[in-house]
Every structure is written in C-alpha cells, then in structure tokens.
C-alpha cells in the first residue's frame, strides 16, 4: 500500500523497516465494529475512561477536564471543569445498594492535589477535597464498606460524605501507585517495589470510624510494581517493570507463583532476529494485567501473554502483538481479548484451542516456578491431563481498529454498545457494530413515523 503510494517516482525514505507484527488483511469478517464516531472535546491526552452505568462513561486526561458521554449516541452530556492540572486518577462511585435515588458519583484526583466528587446526573461538583500533601495517584472504592480510598504519599479512607475517616502515616520511600481490594477488609497497595497490605478495622471510638493498619510488607519484586489486579477473592496478581509476574494468595498474601523471564526473548531458543538485542526494560515490563476466572492476561512489552492459573503456565502468547508497547488489555466474555497500544491501534484477539503437539506451539521456554505448598492434588492432576491431551491455545488476531493517530491509552468495553477508546491524539472514538446500529436506526425511524403519523410532517 505504502510502497504503491510512494511509487510513481517518489523516494521511499527510510520505510524499509519491516514490521514483524502479525497483520491482518483488509477483510475482517469477525470484526463487528463497522461504524465509528469520533468524540471531540479534550484538548490534551485522554488517559482515563470510566464506566458510570450501562450507557454513560466519563473521560479524563491531561487537560484537567472531565467529560461525561452517552455511549450510545456519542452525545456529550457534561463538561466538568474544576481541576487545574492533569487528572491522575478517576473512579466511579456507584450508588450504595438500594438506597434512595440513583445518584452516580465519580471521583477524580488531579495533580493539583485535589479530589473532586461529581454528580453524574446533574453534572455538578458535589464536593472538593484539597487537604492532600501530594498528588493522589489512585482511587479505589470499597463498595462493601461504602468508603473510598485515596492513595498518594499516604493512604486515606473517606466515607461517602467525604469525611476523612483515617489515614496512614506518610510513606517515605515512594507513593502508592495502585490499590486493590482484598478480602477481610484488606487492601494491597503497590508502593515502589513493595507491596503493602493494609487492613481496615473498626475504630474503637465511634461506630462510623475506621482505622487503617499496615499488616504486611512484601518485597518480592525486583523492580517497581506497575500493575496490580485481583483475580478472585483468593488470588491477586502483580506485575513489575522487569517482567516479574507474581500470583499471590489473597488471604495470607503468600506468593504462589512467580513467573519471570518467560517473555524475555533472550531465553528462548528460537531467537527472533527482528527484535534488537539492545533490550530496553520496556520490552518486558508488565504494563497491564487483567484476568478472568481461570487466566491472567498480561500486557508485557509489545506482547500479550495468557497465563493459566490452574496449569500455572503461559498457555498462549503473542510476543509482538503490537508495533509498540501494549498499554491496556481486557478480556471479553466470548473468549476474546482486546489490546491497545502506543502504536495507536486496537486489536481484537481470540483465544483459540487447537489440537496440536504441545511442544512446538506452546512457548514453554524456561519456566521458573516456585510452588509454595499449595501444589495440591488437583493441580497435579491437571498438569497430568495437560500432558496427555494435546490441547493447546493460541491467540489469533481477528480484527484491528485503526483510527487514532497516536497512542491509545485505554479503552472501555460496553458490550453491546460498542467500544470506547481514548488516545493521546485528544480524541475518543466510539466503535460500534454497524449492523446493530442500522437496526436501531430503523427501529427509531419507525417509531418516529408512528409518532408523526405522516412522512411529510417533519418537513
């Protein structure tokens, strides 16, 4: 394509670089997204998207503005101004259970050291908290306890009315970069290389109050923890900058498995010439993790890896899923996986089973496994089974979405309504299933016809 364009006497300038990335033809039968809507509003990098309810989402980014959008129509609902600096964290605060009317709140934290609570229905600022010593880098809502936590240089616990319930002492070495809720009123906070477990306990003074205690510090990681995700009540996973993936037990916080170097190509026998030997750390850093009941999906450098928790091994991978670092991945219900990357593309993958000889297709590589006592019977059985049946998995590219001209920071999957992507090119794109939209439009049309009673009325 490009060569053709460059042809006709023009000089191809340094375009000889060949991409090793798996590419898909122009025909993408399985790609449902045949319609797109560009949502304009931001004037800087859009970094965060958060779902509010079934059809609304908020976007925020470096321009400090928060937008609320309708995911169906792409209509801009509200433009929330309040922050003076870029937004560092955003979280939706759903209405607590069966209480009164549905008032959806969102929390935004900004580099101006404030957190603002917004009412999504009115578009108004509910309250602003500005007593922070440093920038809040992460926000987590503990729905069960109806409190939310803010993590920066310390961890604060707030209730819905924005009363500060308690806070930890100042963390000296690093700020909290990620928080994840664990069972038994615990939270895990990623602080630099360390993982700190805090527990919320009912304070001695009042019924409303909570106290926060530091329970444990885990220093298994060699480098900064970049991603932290909870798989289920019993397990959570962390990923670090140098590519360590540690699966933790959610109850006693013991590292179950540490997977490392699987993705380091230098360990592989099949060396890939394309990738330069001058490995930078980014090539193996775990940018994002996501999981479903049985697998953890890791965005490692440019690749995507699927780690099966039961088999305790990587079952499928795409070493170079994108041209550049994968920034965000998500698992869809239908065995599909979506990833977005700095190269501006979004790719849709399908995890396929195939009956093949295990030795060749599965990147067994060099597995570092530490079993910590938990290697029970079942696990060994599964392992045996795996040995017997030659079921293997592969990630197949079934579609890609090209629209952004710069890094796609994040995306949000709205099942039926489509997919929302946000990018450093200041745009948000709403990807939709064209056929479904067409059907919906027809429906609206006939409803409108019925209302109008006549074709001409509107004109």
């Amino acid at each position: 394509m490009l060569r053709w364009l460059m042809g006709g006497g023009r000089e191809p300038q340094g375009l000889s670089e060949k991409s090793s990335v798996q590419s898909l033809g122009e025909e993408q039968i399985q790609n449902p997204y045949t319609e797109l809507l560009v949502l304009k509003g931001h004037h800087d990098i859009v970094r965060f998207l958060v779902q509010i309810d079934d059809c609304r989402f908020a976007s925020a980014g470096d321009d400090g503005i928060v937008f609320l959008w309708n995911a169906q129509t792409g209509e801009k609902l509200f433009e929330l101004h309040g922050h003076t600096h870029k937004i560092t964290a955003i979280a939706a605060f759903p209405s607590s259970g069966a209480c009164e009317e549905k008032n959806h709140l969102i929390l935004t934290a900004s580099a101006d050291r404030t957190v603002i609570v917004w009412d999504c229905n009115s578009g108004r600022q509910v309250q602003k908290v500005s007593c922070f010593h440093s920038t809040v880098k992460c926000l987590t809502v503990l729905q069960r306890l109806d409190v939310w936590l803010s993590g920066g240089s310390d961890l604060c616990v707030w209730n819905r009315k924005l009363d500060l319930l308690c806070k930890t002492s100042h963390l000296t070495d690093a700020d909290i970069s990620a928080l994840v809720e664990l069972p038994k009123n615990c939270v895990a906070a990623a602080v630099g290389k360390e993982l700190i477990i805090f527990r919320l306990v009912v304070s001695t003074e009042g019924s409303e109050g909570w106290d926060v205690l530091e329970v444990k510090r885990l220093a298994d990681h060699q480098d900064n923890i970049l991603s932290l995700v909870s798989v289920n009540d019993l397990t959570f996973v962390t990923g670090s900058h140098v590519g360590e993936l540690i699966v933790w037990d959610g109850l006693d916080w013991i590292s179950q498995v540490c997977e490392c170097n699987t993705w380091d190509p230098s360990f592989h026998t099949v060396t890939q010439q394309e990738i330069k030997l001058s490995q930078n750390q980014h090539e193996v850093s775990i940018q994002h993790l996501t999981s479903d009941a049985e697998c953890v999906f890791a965005a490692v450098g440019k690749g995507i890896y699927v780690y099966n928790l039961q088999m305790k091994r990587v079952i499928a991978c795409q070493r170079t899923a994108h041209d550049s670092i994968v920034l965000h991945i998500a698992k869809l219900p239908n065995r599909q996986l979506i990833s977005c990357s700095e190269d501006g593309s979004v790719r849709i993958w399908e995890l396929r089973e195939k009956q093949q000889l295990p030795a060749e297709s599965v990147p067994t590589g060099f597995l570092n496994m530490w079993g910590f006592g938990r290697a029970n019977k079942q696990a060994s059985q599964t392992a045996k089974k795996m040995q017997e049946s030659t079921t293997s998995y592969s990630l197949e590219l079934i579609g890609d979405l090209i629209g952004h001209s710069s890094a796609v920071q994040m995306f949000l999957y709205f099942s039926e309504l489509g997919l929302v992507t946000c990018s450093a090119d200041h745009l948000i794109i709403l990807w939709k299933d064209g056929e479904r939209e067409s059907r919906l439009r027809s429906l609206t049309l006939f409803q409108k016809l019925e209302q109008n009673d006549d074709l001409q009325l509107r004109f």
Binding site: G25, N31, T73, S405, D425, R441, S442, F459
Partner: protein, 930 residues
C-alpha cells in the same frame, strides 16, 4: 467545427445560411427540405428572425398625459438589451391595449371624486412583425397633479418567444403582481403625503382668503358686496370645497384594504389605515391646526417639516409643469424594492421556455421527494422561497400539451394554436383564483360576479358610449370587486343583466395579421367566457374608435387571412386612432409617431429588416407592406441574405450580442452554438443557482472526461456512492480540483448542508476528515511532510479509496455491480456536460427511490411476528434488495448506504451537534492501473 451537420439545415442563423447556399446545390433527392415554417421566423432553436433583441427584458412604460406613451426604463438597464428594438413604438402599442385603469371623478349621485382601488390588468400581446411578445401588466398610480389623479403605467415582460409568455403566464402574473403591489403601496404612501401637503396648502390659502374677505368686509360697510368681494367669497367657497374633496381623497387612500397584502413578499408600509380607523372623526381642524399630532409624526417622521404655500385659484394643469417621475411617485424605498423584484423576475424567466418548464417541473417533483432529495440535490433548489410553490397543478395538468407541443414544435406563430394552448392553460386558473380568494378571505369575490362584469364590459363596448375610464375599470375587475368595502364604489358599476345580444354580434375569429397587435389574452378570467366571446375580445380594443368613425363592430370580424394585406394599413391606422383620441396631446401625435430617424437604420437600405415602426399613413404603409412579406417569408432567401449583407452594422451588432451571450456559457460549446441555442441560452432561475448551473455544467463535462479517460471510473464512483471517502492525490492543484469537481456529482450529501467535498487539502489527514468529507483533493508533496501524509494515508487505507492523479492509478474495493456502468458508461453518446449531469441526476434519483423503499419498508427491518429471528429478517432484507430492487453484488451496499443516510436524516433532531458517524466495511482493496 460543426459536430452535427444535420442540424444545420434547420438552423436559420445567418452565417450558416451563407454556407449552405454558396455551395453547389445538391441533387434534389439528397437535399434536406427547408424547414417548412421558416418564413415565420420560428425554428426551434433560433430566435425569430424579426426580433431585434436577443434577450428578454422588462420594459416599464407610462402613458404620459403630456407626451403619450413613453418607455421609462428597461431591465436589465442596458442599451444592448433592446438592441434596435424600438421601445417607443412598442410602448405605444402596449399602452394602447389598456385604458385608464381607474375611474376617478365624480360618479353620478356623489359629489366627491372617488378613488377606485383597481386591480391591475394583465394582457398578453404579440407583435409578430417585431418578433416581440409581451406580457403586459397595467397599473395605475395616483398623482394629485395628474389628470383624474391617475397615471397609467405598465410593466411588460418582452420576449421573442410567444410560447414562453403563454406558458409562463401564471408565473409572470404572480411575480408582476407582487412588483406592482409594491409600487402601488409606495405610491399610496406618497399620494397620502402629497394630499396632506395639499391640504395644508389649501388650509393656508383658506386662512389667507378668509382674512382678505374680512378686511374687505370691514373696509366696505355699505351693506352690499362688490364684485371683488363676491369673487373672493366664491374663491373661498371653492377652496373649502377643495379641502373637503381632498380630505375625502385622503380618507379613501388611507382606507385601502391592506389585508390583501398579507401574503405578498415585501413588508408593506402599512400603518396609515389602522391609525385612521382609530380616529374616525377626522376633521379638518385636527390636521390643519395640529399638524404634529402623534399619528402623523411617527408615520412621516422622515418628512421634513412643510411650509404651506398659497394656492392660486386656477392651478396649472397638464402642460406647463413637469410630471413626477416614477421614483417620485412611489417613494424611493419602494421604487428600489420594485426594481429589485423586477430584476429578480428578469433573472427568473431568463432563458428558453422549455428550460423554464423543465426546471419548474423538476422543482415540483423534487418537492415531492422531500425525504430523499437532500441526497443529491443542491440546497439552493430545495430552499426555494415558498412563493415558488405557486407553481401548482396548473402546469402539471398542462404537461401533456406542453410536451406534445415541444415534440412537434411546429413553430408557426399561429395565433389559433397559441390561443388554444393558452386557453388550455387558463382553464385551470379559476381553481387558482379560488385559492387566492380563500387566502385573502374575500367572500364577496365570486366567479359569477366576474363573469357578469366581463359581460358588462362586452355590452359596454357594443354601445361604444362608455368612457374609457369606466371600461377599463371593468376590464380589470375580475378580482377587484371587493377592494373597497364602501358600497359607493360598487354602486358606480352599471349592471347589465342580459348579455345575450352581445353574444350574437360579437362573433369573430382571431386572424393572423402580420403587424397588428395581437391581443392574445386579456385576463385570466377569460376562461369563464364562452369561446365566441373570447374571440370578440381583441376587437374590443378598436371598437371605440370604430364607434367614433361610425363603422361599428363589423370591421374587425372581416379580418381574415385572405385580406390581411389590404387590411393591414387599415387596422394599423385603427390601432393608432384610439391612441390619438385618448391622448391629451392628440394634435402632436404625428410628431410623436414619426420614428426617430436616428434610432432606426436608413429605411431604404433596410429592405426587409423590420426595425422600422409602421407609419401612420396609408400610402407609406403600402410600400412597407411588401417589404414585410419579403422579409418574413423566407422563400426568397437571397433577399433575406441581401438584407443582412447590406447591413453589416446590423450583422455585427447581432454577432456582438451573441458573443456577449456566449460569454456566459461555456467556451467549448460556443462553436456549435448555432445549432443549440436552445440549451445554450438557458440560464438559471436566480443568481445563486446561476453559479450552480455553471458549476453543474462544468462538473458534468469533467465527469464525462473522467469516465472516458479512466477505465477504472466505475470502482471510483462506487466508492463515492457507498460512502467510502475517495482521495484524489496529485501534485497539480488544478488537475486535482478538476477531478474533484467531476466526481463531486456522485457524492451523496450527508445532511442538508453542503456537499461533503473538500477540493484541496495540503495537511495530513486524520480520521475526522473521513468522517466529514467523502471526496478530498490532496496535495502530494515531496518532503518529510509529504511522507507523513502518505503514512497517514496508508494507515487509514481501510477507510479510503485513493485515486492517484499523477500516476493514474486507483486503489479501491472491487466493483462488479450493474448500477455504475449505467451511470457512467464510457461509450455514452452524451456529449454535453449539462446533459450528462442530468443523466446522472436521473439515475441517482432512481437510486434514491430504491433507497427510500428499502429504508421505509416496515417489514424489512422489524419482525412480522415476535417469534421471528433476526436472521430471517436479514434474509428478507437481502431478498428484497436483490429480487425486488434488482440489485447485483456491490450495488446492494450503495442502496444500504443511502438508506442509512435517509434514516439518519429522518431521525435526526433538527438541532443536533452530533458528528456524522463513519461507516466502513472491511473489504480488500485492489489496485487499478490504466
């Protein structure tokens, strides 16, 4: 370069004739017979040979009480327009058709002069010798200084094409009525002003006179009055009477029923009436002693304060003063507004009649497709003023006659034919009138009344004793009965209940007379009158003078083709006679009627060139008569040629005018213009679409070129029709723009806004551009920027098709349908851009209707029953597209895309800021090369 030699035989344009007859003559059997009706100067393409002007124009004339009929101005205001056409003479003719349109004076049983608010009369008349046909709109304006307070004017739309006038009668009438209404509104205002001034003068005069009388009374206490005193008293009395009269006039002019104007275009300046009705006890003191009363001040705030003058007992009349100009009569604001309207009319009716008709039909049809027409039509066509909606069943019902006439196009200026055709078009008028009546809510106006009045009119004519003022009143009253709610004015209409006598007497047939004025119709209500009555109409014009001469009505029926020649001079004289008698300066008429020698060419050289107005004297006329036949019957072609040769000046002026005409059209088609005047001259309805028209033509031509030049035109067009953005990439801006223009005619609009076409872009494209634009001209640059641009193109290649104008390649999805080949056949016989444009428009409209069906078919999109699955609906949809609409392969996608646009357009809220979405398919692209 004559591309169609067969057409040459039919053309009568001078230069081609020369060629044709200088060649050695062909054997009889090969020669194309001469166009049979050539002697009438009417072939389908060329102008009437007799006409001395090339383009239609509007003439405003006045029947001045001082100098008789005189042309005031033409629109366009350009000496070239009328060419050698004698405006003076033509004014005379058109003004002689109408009489004083208003009856002002002392009606019996009423002591004060009455103003009648009379409707204008609308007349079509033709002058086949001059080759001029005109729609003439007579109106009267009030002028205090004029005789009977009225100044007759007329506005005439003059064309060489009789059919045009006939078929556009309704439209012309509507438009001119608007203009006239505007003029008259201004005039009423000015007249009221004038009256007020006059009243002040009179009041002042009265005061002065009163004082003088008092002084005399004091000086003279002998108990008897001197003659001087009596004179003064009389004078005073007459001033008093004059005051009352003027006040009455003022009241009348202000009581004009303004509600009639509600539907007209302009905003009439209309406050007087309301104010005065609020102030019914309008007595002289209030105006005179208190000139600054609140009502007056804000109305006439612009008017400088007026100092009253003393009025002499005998005011100067007709001759020793300058009459007001039209501008003065109507207030500058209204005058300029009227001029604007007339200019608009001129533009609207420019061009050939078939063009106008097609345009009107086209517009009417487009209006019916209100749902789909936004896709491929320009906004300008759709956003016509509601006034244009006037075009109604009238034309539609007539379509057949029009069509057949266009086909046969036996273009003899047969009066009978035209009369019939006119009749057929008028027959639908009553319906229209009724509509108007309903609109204006004037229940009194009913057709029977109009009928009666026309009969009255005929009756009156027979008697020959009714004053011209009165007859005109009747003439123009088909809609005017109820204009004054005062019963006094109604009472002045004589009632003649039995028109039967007239009927028997007035039977006459229209005949062709070479140079007499042919009054082809008078007013729309003519259709209400039986055929034989209608026939007697035209003669009515002459009847007054006949009556004076004691010859009676029988003269005019005796006119028939056999004795036309003898009658010619006669009738001509008769034509002129009423003018003489009616004109207040009758004794000066010979002077006036002499043609101005400068204006025409030397009569002797001008053998057969009909630029000379007929002479009023019989002996001269005889000689001319022969010449006329020579000229107009082109049997003796050499004679005709001779005349052209003899008069190089004439030829060159014609040539010049033609060239100037061609400047408007495309240069490429100039060469063959002789054969194709028909499609050449048409120009557009209004300035905006004038541009569009040219644009269309250019686009059509470019598109034709594109189709012939590029073998891969089909997939390119398919890309556009299916909503895939096509990018024309090239270094040369002009070339790219040309291609973009060519292709733009295939781009469906996404909304009612401008076409999603961007002619020239120099910066790299992003996804938003594809969302916004469907056709983009992109600059190819050799620089890092250019590489960036190409990168972005290759990145977004799935959304776009790329036409490389430099290397002549195209990259786009495959197309195997049947629709585009019909749209863009590279072997098409269509040669003209505008024709091709229409062809495209035609096919696209068909396509739109398919899309409409698809989009608005309920069961194609919704389940028939609840158990139905989505798959079966989809299956039904496909079946419909393929079997019912007969679409093949990729054509389905075109219709689906258009249907999607229709849906969007329909469901979209009027004010929606949502961006259009970008729809795309994941289909492979292929590279096409020449």
């Amino acid at each position: 370069m004559i591309s169609a030699p067969d057409v040459v035989a039919f053309t009568k344009e001078d230069e081609f004739e020369e060629e044709a007859y200088n060649e050695p003559s062909l054997p009889e059997e090969y020669s194309v017979p001469l166009f049979p009706f050539a002697n009438h100067g009417a072939n389908p393409w060329s102008k009437f040979s007799g006409s001395k002007f090339t383009k239609d124009f509007i003439l405003i004339s006045e029947f001045s009480e001082q100098v008789g009929p005189q042309p005031l101005l033409t629109i366009p205001d350009d000496a070239k327009v009328s060419g050698t056409f004698d405006l003076n003479y033509f004014s005379l003719r058109i003004m002689s058709v109408d009489y004083q349109a208003s009856f002002v004076g002392h009606p019996p049983g009423c002591s004060y002069p009455k103003l009648n608010f009379v409707e204008d009369s609308k007349v079509v008349l033709g002058d086949s010798k001059e080759g001029a046909f005109a729609y003439v709109h007579h109106l009267t304006l009030y002028d205090l200084e004029a005789r009977g307070f009225v100044r007759p004017f007329c506005m005439a739309y003059i064309s060489t094409d009789e059919h045009k006038i006939m078929q556009q009668f309704q439209e012309l009438s509507t438009e001119f009525s608007k203009a006239s209404e505007c003029l008259k509104t201004g005039n009423r205002k000015a007249f009221a002003n004038e009256l007020e001034k006059k009243l002040k003068d009179l009041d002042y005069t009265r005061t002065v006179l009163h004082n003088e009388t008092e002084i005399q009374k004091k000086a003279n206490d002998k108990g008897f009055y001197t003659t001087q005193a009596i004179e003064k008293a009389n004078e005073l009395a007459s001033v008093e009477k004059s005051i009352i009269e003027h006040q009455d006039l003022l009241k009348q002019i202000r009581s004009y029923p303004y509600r009639k104007l509600k539907d007209s275009d302009f905003h009439p300046y209309e406050p007087e009436c309301a104010l005065d009705q609020a102030n019914p006890s309008f007595d002289q003191d209030s105006t005179t002693s208190n000139p600054d009363e609140p009502g007056e001040t804000h109305l006439y705030a612009r008017m400088p304060s007026y100092t009253p003058k003393l009025i002499k007992a005998k005011s100067a009349k007709c001759f020793d003063k300058k009459l007001k100009t039209l501008e003065e009569l109507c207030d500058v604001y209204f005058f300029t507004q009227t001029l604007d309207q007339l200019n608009q009319i001129e533009k609207t009716f420019r061009g050939d009649v078939c063009y106008l008709l097609t345009n009107q039909i086209c517009k009417a049809l487009l209006k019916q497709q209100s749902i789909t027409n936004f896709l491929f039509e320009d906004k300008s066509v759709l956003d016509e003023k509601p006034a244009e909606k006037q075009y109604s069943g009238c034309q539609g019902s007539n379509q057949d006659t029009i069509n057949t006439k266009c086909l046969e196009e036996s273009p003899i200026p047969q009066v009978l034919i035209s009369l019939e055709s006119y009749k057929s078009s008028v027959e639908s008028v009553p319906i229209k009138m009724e509509q108007e009546i309903e609109d204006s809510q004037e229940p009194e106006v009913t057709e029977p009344i109009a009928f009666d009045q026309n009969l009255e009119y005929l009756d009156a004519d027979i008697k020959g004793s009714i004053s011209s003022g009165e007859s005109i009143e009747v003439l123009g009253t088909e809609k005017s009965t109820a204009v004054l709610t005062n019963s006094e004015s109604q009472a002045s209409l004589p009632i003649h209940p039995s028109p039967q006598v007239v009927r028997s007497k007035a039977v006459s047939r229209r005949t062709i007379s070479e140079d007499s004025i042919e009054v082809l119709s008078l007013c729309p209500s003519e259709s209400l009158i039986p055929e034989d009555f209608k026939a007697s109409y035209p003669s009515a014009i002459n009847e007054e003078s006949y009556a004076d001469d004691g010859r009676g009505i029988h003269v005019s029926p005796s006119l028939n083709p056999s004795n036309v020649e003898e009658m010619e001079g006669n009738s001509e004289q008769e034509k002129l006679l009423p003018v003489d008698s009616a004109c207040c300066i009758g004794k000066e008429s010979p002077n006036f009627l002499e043609p101005l020698p400068d204006l025409t060419h030397k009569p002797c050289d001008d053998d057969g060139v009909v630029s000379i107005p007929p002479q009023p004297y019989r002996q001269v006329d005889q000689g001319f008569h022969v010449n006329f036949t020579d000229c107009s019957s082109h049997d003796d072609v050499s004679g005709g040629l001779l005349s052209y040769e003899l008069d190089p000046h004439y030829l060159s002026s014609r040539e010049a005018s033609r060239i100037s005409l061609d400047e408007y059209s495309d240069s490429t088609s100039y060469v063959s213009s002789a054969a194709s005047t028909c499609s050449e001259t048409p120009s557009p309805a209004h300035p905006l679409s004038h541009f569009n028209e040219r644009h269309k033509k250019k686009a059509g031509q470019n598109a034709l070129k594109f189709i012939r030049q590029y073998p891969f035109a089909h997939p390119a067009i398919y890309s556009l029709l299916s909503g895939r953005t096509l990018i024309v990439l090239g270094e040369d801006e002009a070339m790219v723009k040309k291609l973009v223009t060519a292709l733009s005619i295939f781009v469906p609009n996404c909304g009612v806004y401008a076409k999603p076409v961007k002619h020239w872009v120099t910066s790299p494209l992003n996804i938003m551009d594809f969302q916004k634009w469907k056709l983009i001209g992109l600059q190819r640059v050799v620089s890092p920027v250019g590489v960036n641009m190409l990168h972005s193109l290759s990145r977004y290649s799935r959304y776009i098709s790329i036409l490389d104008a430099d290397s002549k390649t195209l990259r786009c999805p495959l197309y195997k349908g049947t629709l585009v080949p019909r749209l863009a056949d590279h072997r098409t016989q269509i040669k003209r851009g505008s024709t091709y444009y229409m062809h495209v428009q035609n096919i696209l409209t068909q396509l739109c209707s398919k899309a409409f069906l698809y989009a608005f078919c309920h069961h194609l999109h919704l389940p028939i029953n609840e158990t139905e699955t989505e798959e079966s609906i989809a299956c039904r949809r496909m079946n419909f597209l393929k079997l019912h609409l007969g679409l093949v392969n990729e054509d389905v996608k075109v219709v689906q895309y258009l249907a999607e646009l229709l849906k969007l357009q329909y469901i979209q809220e009027p004010v929606s800021s949502i961006n259009p979405m970008l729809r795309f398919d994941y289909v492979p692209s292929f590279l096409y090369k020449i």
